[in-house]
């Protein structure tokens, strides 16, 4: 049982680290603020949730210590990180940051 949980939590943590790596590559490679923010806020949120789930499982089965703070952190990050991305994107849009040249749609332009 303990080995299964160890492998499972190691898998969760490795998936989380992989998602962080994807997020970092997205921030480096993508062309403008909006797509970069898409990469940064989305995949790193899922990555840190995977890492925290792995940690929670490991400490629950290995040390039989259920840490409520990790559950709270999962809930909190899931709730606030997309909102932070939304606020950064919105303030970038309203301060006039240009979109990528090849963008085809800008629905907010008529509200500007």
């Amino acid at each position: 049982m303990i080995e299964i949980v160890e492998i499972l939590s190691a898998g969760f943590i490795l998936i989380g680290v992989f998602l962080f790596l994807v997020s970092a590559f997205g921030v480096i490679r993508l062309p403008d603020v909006y797509t970069r923010n898409h990469a940064a806020s989305k995949s790193s949120t899922l990555g840190i949730m995977f890492i925290l789930i792995g940690t929670l499982l490991y400490f629950y089965y290995k040390h039989s210590h259920f840490d409520f703070r990790v559950v709270l952190a999962i809930f909190f990050i899931f709730m606030t990180s997309p909102v932070a991305g939304h606020l950064i994107n919105r303030s970038a849009y309203h301060s006039g940051v240009k979109m990528w040249d090849k963008s085809v749609q800008d629905d907010l332009k008529k509200n500007r």
Partner: protein, 140 residues
């Protein structure tokens, strides 16, 4: 154009309660785990600052009608009262006592007078932080 903070305000309504609960948990668990009055106070003032970011200062003072300068004084008073309790019982200053009691639901817990000292620290930290931030934020 008209600004619309609906997403930020809705999330703030939930997140502020989560932060406040976590601050209380850190404050009460300070004797046995990392945390205590200082961190709990800073986190409580962080929740109030989040409210200040999402709403304006008039709304927040309507929600929490607290005079933070009075809060500093109250915290210092509680802490010094805890310290001076040694004078009444004829023991050295800052002597703390504790007792284990059995409550019906919470079980075997200890009541310690250091919690009262920590409550003073908590109130002073919240008061000082909010006084600084509100004073800077109100000046035009």
């Amino acid at each position: 154009m008209k600004q619309n903070d609906l997403i930020l305000q809705t999330v703030t309504k939930v997140a502020a309660f989560v932060i406040l609960l976590f601050a209380v948990a850190i404050f009460l668990g300070g004797h046995y785990s990392p945390g205590g009055g200082f961190v709990g106070g800073l986190m409580t003032s962080a929740a109030i600052v989040l409210l200040l970011l999402a709403y304006d200062i008039k709304t927040v003072t309507k929600i929490l009608p607290i005079d933070y300068k009075l809060m500093i004084g109250l915290g210092l008073f509680i802490s010094s009262l805890t310290v001076a309790g040694g004078l009444v019982f004829g023991v050295p200053l800052m002597t703390h006592v504790y007792r284990y009691i059995d409550l019906p639901i919470l079980g075997h817990i200890s009541l310690h007078t250091a919690v009262l000292f920590d409550l003073g620290v908590y109130l002073v930290v919240v008061g000082v932080t909010m006084t600084i931030i509100q004073t800077i934020g109100e000046s035009e």
